[in-house]
């Protein structure tokens, strides 16, 4: 199946806030905010772990050049192409799509 460069979707459940997409984006159009939470030990005698939990994620489609580097670099496949090709906005602020608008 060929991925069509329509829009980009975020599958938030798969995102670990590793920041790779944010760092590799050539135009710096991705922003991410997360906070740390402690997960208790998985088994008795184990260690509690610190994990990052995603708060905010946004792509500024006004800057995005649809290169797909973010999708390619994500180790957790939390970003994917959505072939629906329908982006039209009436204000520059509205080209920034937050987590809700980026959900499938």
């Amino acid at each position: 199946m060929t991925a069509r460069h329509g829009r980009i979707n975020l599958i938030a459940d798969k995102c670990t806030s590793c920041m790779l997409c944010v760092r590799e984006c050539p135009v710096w159009c991705i922003s991410l905010a997360a906070h740390a939470e402690t997960e208790p030990a998985a088994a008795p005698g184990g260690r509690a772990r610190t994990v990052n939990v995603l708060d905010d994620f946004s792509i500024d489609y006004g800057l995005c050049m649809f290169c797909g580097i973010c999708i390619d670099v994500c180790p957790f496949e939390a970003l994917e192409w959505n072939a629906i090709d329908d982006l039209v906005e009436v204000a520059r602020e509205m080209t920034v799509h937050d987590r809700e608008r980026l959900a499938r």
Binding site: M19, R23, E24, C25, W28, L32, A33, A36, N52
Partner: protein, 153 residues
Amino acid sequence: MNVSVEEWRTSAAAARADGGAWFAMLTAVDDPVAGVIDVVLVVGEPGTQQKQLRCAVDRTTPVLDSVADLWSGAAFAEREVHEMFGVDFAGNADLRPLLLPAGVEAPLRRDAGLGRRSATEWPGAVEPSDSAKVRRRPIVAIGADSENWAVEL
């Protein structure tokens, strides 16, 4: 072939006499590590044995003799190298800028920063959370592999 600043004109004239009457290109390569700007001259028709002369000029005060009297086409190229790299060509009376607006200097030098990008906070500079983490080597933005990348234009 590499020539010194002093040999530049005589070498160019020799190249012209030796089948190099056709001016192909005059350009420059900035080498901040070596502290020089390499000015590159290519003459001779494509398809024939072209001649390439390279001259390393000092980066802080880059001056080279003009060869515009040998090839009239070189005048325009020297103007462009002057505009984009800041190299002065002694003997070329017309080194007016071609494209750049006032206030933009030698943007093809490797330490010419991308003003707007360096003024913008890189979203990737933030650690995902403020948990105390062992810092590995600091993560650097793409294209920011030298200390001077953020020089203001």
